[in-house]
């Protein structure tokens, strides 16, 4: 066997090791982005999450002005920290709608009393159906939806104060 061929296993080993080292240094991103971005909100009609309050349908999100659609739940711990940020956005004129995942009216009411209520409408998604239809893979997630009901951006994970200028800019851009 020639010298060149003998080096093949060594080269393969180096290739393997560099691959392993690369993933150790730079771990893979486990977030699964929605493929629905830049597409219309899929049709859905959710009942109200709180008695006496409005529910949420896809038509509500194509009302001629941009919306922020927050996928959340009262049992989701990061969602509580996000409340303040959403309220600040609402104070600055952003319409915030919510989809409560696998939630009960009692738990949700207690959650909103504790963390504030930035939502104009909250739909109740008891089997994650609408969440799956949106391509959302967990709570919390937030979608920027333009005036025509097209999803323009997805935020995976809780929004924090540093996201406020960006969200405001995006809402302005899709107006």
């Amino acid at each position: 066997m020639s010298r060149g061929l003998r080096l093949i296993p060594l080269i393969l080993l180096l290739f393997l090791l560099s691959g392993l080292a690369w993933r150790l240094i730079k771990p893979a991103d486990t977030a699964v982005p929605s493929q629905m971005v830049e597409r219309e909100v899929p049709p859905f009609a959710l009942p109200p999450a709180l008695p006496g309050e409005p529910g949420l349908t896809a038509a509500d999100l194509a009302s001629g002005k941009p919306h922020l659609l927050n996928i959340f739940a009262s049992w989701c711990i990061p969602c509580a920290s996000e409340g303040k940020v959403l309220q600040e956005l609402q104070r600055r004129g952003v319409t915030v709608d919510g989809i409560a995942i696998r939630d009960t009216p009692e738990a949700l009411a207690a959650f909103l009393a504790r963390n504030g209520d930035p939502y104009q409408r909250i739909g109740s998604d008891r089997q994650s159906d609408t969440q799956i239809a949106l391509g959302s893979s967990g709570v919390p997630e937030t979608f920027v939806i333009d005036a025509h009901g097209v999803i323009r951006r997805q935020y995976i994970g809780a929004l924090n104060d540093s996201n406020i200028p960006g969200v405001l800019r995006e809402i302005e851009e899709v107006r």
Partner: protein, 157 residues
Amino acid sequence: MSLRAASKRRGGNPAGLLRFARNDVIAAVLLILASPAVADSNLPPAYWANRQLPNARQEAQAQALMEQLRCLVCQGQSIADSDAELAGDMRDLVRRRIAAGEKPSAIRSWLIQRYGTWISYRPTDEPAAWPLWLTPLALLLAGAWLIRRRIKLKASH
């Protein structure tokens, strides 16, 4: 800290070792009693999450599809294997749609539309997956070439 290190620190005093062991046991019991801080809802699983369809043929179709769909929460498990609530809700969705007469391939492409090919364990025939299909062929050819060489070498000796 290991028990041996603890007894060394206390100069090998057996009483100290015992006290340390007792603290360890208390800590272990507390750990067992502690509930993990996994965020799960208080709602029961969706109706079809852990229930088979009455029609055996449909259930077999649903099962085959669920084994090929990747769980969004426990990435690396199929939704058939995962205990995550979202996986349960997806099993419910798959069974409901199959029971309503939808084809498994249609459900798969509906999910791929939402989550990309990521959601499906079955490799696609897109160009990105070509190396996957071609590598076994290439390896077979390389094997055949090696064998041929050996036979030729033997014959020439």
